[in-house]
């Protein structure tokens, strides 16, 4: 029994190996290259659009310290609505049709809550004493926002972008269910055609892309906020200790 299962696993791995080493599977409109590009492109576009929509109001609300309930509700609602349901619902509106458009809109909608809530929390939770000190130095409200609150909020803002981007990459996979050609297509086709090689190829590529996205934002955060690491090394608690509490991603 154990041996049979073992052979099954090896067999699956060899199917996977066979699939990724066949040149035909890489090229053409349904090849690995084309689908990877489509997957990355829709994820980048969705994350950028979501950031453009979510950042201005969240930073402004955080600056005037109003709208806390909105920030909490928006993230809770985002968590309760299944991403598959949003994509599916959009396809039912004839305006969107199938494929790229409903997937893109769903990704933007899903990416907004973490970016919004984190940016809001980041700006709002800047130490009042620091803000008062900046005012005392004669800074105008705008200067306080740009030179004090925004830099302090940066780690949380990037954390929000990171959560959203990873979620977008993950959810773009579901676009395959509504006929959007992406890495998820290998998974849905693999299940439908009972082709384990294809299925595993899709799974590996999607997982690797999600982990690369996560890693990219970790590096970005290090590059843009070097003072956070210095603080950590010196054993000073990070200002934004509530990073984890403020934002957990929705299901993907």
């Amino acid at each position: 029994m154990v041996q049979a299962r073992h052979r099954g696993l090896m067999h699956t791995l060899s199917l996977f190996w066979h699939y990724v080493t066949t040149a035909n599977n890489w090229w053409g409109t349904t090849g690995i290259v084309e689908r990877t590009i489509a997957h990355v492109r829709i994820s980048v576009v969705a994350t950028f659009v979501a950031a453009a929509i979510a950042l201005p109001p969240s930073v402004a609300l955080g600056h005037v310290r109003k709208g806390g309930l909105l920030a909490v509700s928006i993230v809770n609602i985002g968590r309760a609505i299944p991403s598959l349901a949003i994509i599916a619902f959009l396809t039912t509106l004839t305006f969107f049709g199938f494929g790229y458009r409903p997937t893109l809109v769903a990704l933007i909608v899903l990416a907004i809550p973490p970016i919004f809530t984190n940016a809001y929390t980041g700006v709002r939770n800047v130490d009042r004493d620091i803000v008062e000190a900046a005012r005392g130095m004669g800074m105008t409200s705008n200067e306080v926002l740009l030179r004090v609150e925004m830099p302090s909020a940066l780690p949380l803002v990037i954390a929000g972008l990171r959560i959203s981007a990873v979620q977008v990459v993950a959810t773009a996979t579901l676009g395959a269910i509504v006929a959007f050609e992406c890495l998820g297509s290998f998974i849905t086709e693999g299940i439908a055609q009972q082709d384990d090689g294809k299925l595993l190829t899709g799974a590996v590529l999607v997982a690797v892309l999600a982990l690369i996205t996560d890693g990219f934002f970790i590096l970005l955060q290090r590059a843009l906020t070097p003072w956070m690491r210095r603080r950590k090394r010196r054993g000073i608690a990070p200002v934004t200790a509530d990073i984890d509490v403020a934002a957990t991603a929705a299901a993907h």
Partner: protein, 225 residues
């Protein structure tokens, strides 16, 4: 509004379809509920074990959370893709995937909750002659309850959403309606699946809020005072 009131296959919700499928809707509710509850329960037991390891051996916190975070980062469809060749379509595959997504949230909240108990409170308990275990059970654990339940709430709501995807693994639930709606380009099942899923998530969330109130009566007294 007219789209809601109209009664044919082209409207947003075709009510006679809903009336004709109440049996299927209840069946899906049972499947969806069972998949969610089993996943959160097993996830909670595993996370309790992990949290116990972390609280005993501090250095394991980083590695355990990183591992849980990697699991959480892997998209559900991909995780099912890894599992299907090994465990095949079915309940087990669905549950392994679902449980692995609860670990990060639950483990982190259990550890943060217990860590958040103030030293002064612990010392008072020690001063009152509590043994280490009794203090843990009747002081630390009780004060950590809100944080732990907050974790269970997030995990449940997240899992309800993920269960819609397990329809692809052939385990039923509301996802079947959503997929059916997509395949037939027919709005009603999709809307029914989505609405039911959100309703189940909200119901579970409210249930846990009530459980929290029952378990932490002092927090209500605090508000009243």
């Amino acid at each position: 509004m007219t789209a809601l009131l109209a009664n044919d296959a082209n409207s947003l919700v075709w009510w006679s379809w809903v009336r004709g499928h109440t049996h299927e809707i209840w069946l899906a509710t049972g499947q969806h509920f069972r998949l969610t509850v089993v996943a959160v329960l097993i996830g909670f037991l595993l996370s309790t074990l992990l949290a116990a390891v972390v609280l005993r051996f501090r250095w394991t916190y980083g590695p355990i959370l990183s591992a849980a975070n990697i699991l959480y980062t892997i998209p559900s469809l991909a995780l099912f893709g890894f599992l299907i060749p090994i465990t095949h379509l079915g309940f087990r595959t669905a549950e392994i995937g679902l449980v692995s997504y609860t670990l990060l949230i639950l483990t982190r909240n259990i550890v943060t909750g217990i860590d958040g108990v103030s030293v002064a409170v612990k010392e008072s308990a020690d001063g009152m002659g509590f043994t280490r275990w009794r203090r843990f059970l009747s002081v630390d654990l009780r004060l950590a309850t809100p944080a732990i339940i907050a974790g269970v709430r997030i995990a449940s709501v997240t899992t309800v959403g993920l269960v819609t995807i397990t329809a692809l693994v052939g385990e039923g639930g509301y996802g079947v309606f959503i997929l059916d709606g997509i395949n037939r380009r027919f709005t009603t099942p999709t809307v029914v699946g989505a609405v039911c899923s959100v309703a189940l998530a909200v119901t579970l969330d409210v249930t846990f809020v009530l459980i929290e109130r029952l378990l932490t009566p002092w927090s209500r007294r605090g508000i009243a005072a």
